[in-house]
């Protein structure tokens, strides 16, 4: 097993071993990887909101947001939905199997700038994958940030990811308010029913000194942003994490271009003000 460790070639992945695989839902699982190389393990770090490129050799490469937080060094956690060639192959991995990982890429959230702010998280489906990184980062540095409100929407109760944290961890953390909803009613479900924006009626959110952080399926953004604007949120205080097709992750292949910006370099986190100036963005 050998690989030259060099950043001379940004496209060369580092080898990493699957340490643990946990089913989140029917379609999604959480994968924990550890780099084989000691140096990479020691120096690899990231910002919440950044992503990595995962290679299944012989199948291909795809981008995934990091779902763990840099405040908890250890395995790199990725929450991945099974949806095509690469993701099928990832779901078929056994513990101990080796993949390639390179990154981290993209801007991520600037956690320094968010210090002292109240934070409103709005996640839909697996949009929670990158936001979990931010939320747990804040949990670990609780005093540096203000009140945290979390809205989470999924189609069905069984389609929710990170249920343990949603139900048992975050609601019990200091100064955290947690609300969930599902699109379709279900016998075992006692909670809210409706799309994620219905939570604005359940919980009054103030826009003062608050930053909203949104990630979810493409259809969700428009409606959520409309409601936030009504509540007085300014474009600069709404952060969106966008998804596009990506091949290189480093600004060369141009698949992820939105208007005049590259999702992989200028994003994937954009302010709504930026997004407004980018045609086709949401």
């Amino acid at each position: 097993m050998q690989i030259t460790l060099t950043r001379e070639n940004e496209y060369l992945p580092d080898l990493a071993k699957l340490m643990k695989k946990t089913k989140l839902t029917e379609m999604e699982s959480l994968f924990e990887f550890e780099f084989l190389d000691n140096n990479v393990r020691k120096y690899f770090t990231y910002n919440p909101g950044q992503f990595v490129q995962v290679s299944i050799f012989g199948v291909g490469e795809a981008p995934f947001s990091v779902s763990s937080t840099p405040t908890r060094p250890g395995n790199l956690e990725l929450g991945i939905r099974q949806t095509g060639n690469v993701t099928d192959a990832i779901h078929n991995l056994n513990v101990g199997d080796v993949v390639g990982i390179r990154g981290p890429y993209g801007n991520g959230f600037s956690m320094d700038k968010l210090c002292g702010k109240n934070l409103l998280f709005i996640a839909g489906g697996i949009g929670m994958v990158p936001l979990r990184s931010v939320i747990n980062y804040i949990m670990d540095k609780r005093d540096d940030y203000g009140k945290v409100t979390i809205f989470y929407g999924a189609c069905l109760p069984d389609e929710r990811v990170f249920v343990d944290e949603l139900e048992n961890v975050w609601p019990n953390a200091p100064d955290v308010e947690m609300h969930q909803t599902v699109d379709e009613c279900h016998e075992t479900w006692q909670g809210n029913v409706g799309v994620v924006t219905c939570l604005f009626d359940v919980c009054k959110v103030a826009s003062e000194n608050t930053v909203a952080i949104i990630c979810g399926p493409p259809v969700m953004y428009k409606f959520v942003v409309q409601d936030l604007m009504k509540l007085g949120f300014k474009g600069d205080d709404i952060l969106l994490s966008l998804e596009r097709k990506m091949q290189c992750g480093v600004g060369k292949c141009a698949h992820c271009q939105i208007g005049h910006k590259l999702t992989c370099i200028d994003g994937p986190v954009f302010t709504f003000s930026e997004v407004q100036r980018l045609q086709e963005a949401i």
């Binding site: 001379e8 050799f57 012989g58 493409p218 097709k245 600004g251 292949c253």
Partner: protein, 354 residues
């Protein structure tokens, strides 16, 4: 002051012949109704009076298909092809027009920057360029309108045709110095007479190249023009064949795919040219296509080349080479489109006297 030189036009063939031991040489040769940059074994095939080549020079730096790395799936090891690329024989490109040199300067920005594309850079470093100053217009080009008719960098030698069937030769780099050494007595230092002849050629060039549009306030124009009816009209004509992007010297988009060999124990990670005109270019899992409608993809190409390139790299990604105009089956002309938008939004170009 460094020297400039004079060379007989016919001596270029001798220089190419002399350089063969050291380089793989490529130059313009006629093929049917057009020209191509082809491998030169017989220097007399080079046609320095060529109008334009169908394919641009990007193929020498980003091949239409290349293997980036090989995976050995049994040993789980990665074999980077970069050392092989670096070990390739040096290449010498002869007779490169100013617009195509500008295209390389643009690609340098794309493949350089924060993350360097090592394959591109290795080939670029391994390549020597003899530029050719066009002093007469070509059929479809509009270089002077987009300020690419003059180059100050990006070549190793630069040849300007002057009277008496000679070239006025400028040296642009140490690689150019190497060619000087190879050329030996074929070049002699330019005298006042040569300088005068160069001046006359450049006067001729400035008078002969047309200016049909301008780029003033082009950012504002494109920001205003998002909902312009022109896009729907062009969208109906365009068949999303991608030819414009394939022939374009600055269109660089690519796809990456792993290809397994028959033993299933080795795989190549390859990249191939792609174009934003293709249906699956912005298609993601879901499936959700961010540019499902064909007109949206054509419009996107214009926005990326003008607005996006300016944002990312400070220059537009159209060198005015005219290839897409020549090869579009729908007769769509980037020059006419930009002209029409500019005329409506910020006015027609002011052409100063010859």
């Amino acid at each position: 002051m460094s020297s400039t030189y004079i060379m007989k036009r016919s001596d270029l063939l001798k220089l190419v012949q002399a350089a063969m031991d050291e380089y793989d040489i490529y130059g313009p040769v006629q093929r049917r109704t057009t020209w191509v940059f082809d491998k030169i074994d017989d220097p007399s095939r080079i046609d320095m009076d060529y109008d334009n080549t169908m394919m641009s020079l990007k193929k020498f730096f980003i091949p239409s298909k290349e293997v980036m790395m090989r995976f050995n799936l049994r040993e789980m090891s990665i074999d980077d092809s970069l050392p092989d690329v670096k070990a390739e024989r040096p290449q010498l490109l002869v007779g490169v027009h100013a617009c195509d040199i500008h295209a390389l300067l643009f690609l340098d920005r794309v493949f350089g920057g924060k993350y360097v594309d090592p394959y591109y850079v290795a080939r670029r470093e391994n390549t020597t360029i003899i530029g050719l100053n066009c002093i007469d217009p070509c059929k479809h080009g509009f270089c002077k309108s987009v300020n690419t008719h003059i180059v100050n960098e990006g070549y190793d030698l630069y040849l300007t045709p002057i009277t008496g069937d000679k070239y006025y030769v400028h040296v642009g780099s140490p690689k150019g110095d190497r060619l000087l050494t190879i050329a030996g007595k074929l070049l002699r230092e330019a005298t006042d007479e040569g300088h005068e002849a160069f001046k006359a050629s450049m006067k001729h060039k400035h008078e002969s190249l047309p200016v049909g549009l301008h780029l003033d306030n082009i950012n504002e124009t494109f920001d205003m023009a998002w909902d312009d009816p022109i896009w729907a009209r062009l969208g109906e004509e365009c068949m999303n064949c991608g030819s414009c992007a394939l022939v374009c010297p600055t269109c660089y988009c690519y796809d990456v795919a792993d290809e397994l060999d028959l033993s299933l124990s080795n795989a190549d990670r390859t990249r191939k040219w792609s174009t934003c005109l293709y249906h699956d270019f912005a298609l993601v899992a879901g499936p959700h296509n961010f540019r499902e409608d064909p007109p949206a993809r054509l419009k996107y190409r214009f926005y990326h080349k003008i607005r996006g390139a300016l944002h990312d790299h400070g220059i537009i990604a159209c060198t005015g080479c005219g290839r897409c105009i020549e090869h579009c089956p729908a007769g769509i002309s980037v020059k006419d489109v930009v002209y029409e938008l500019q005329k409506r939004r910020v006015g027609v170009p002011v052409v100063k006297g010859g």
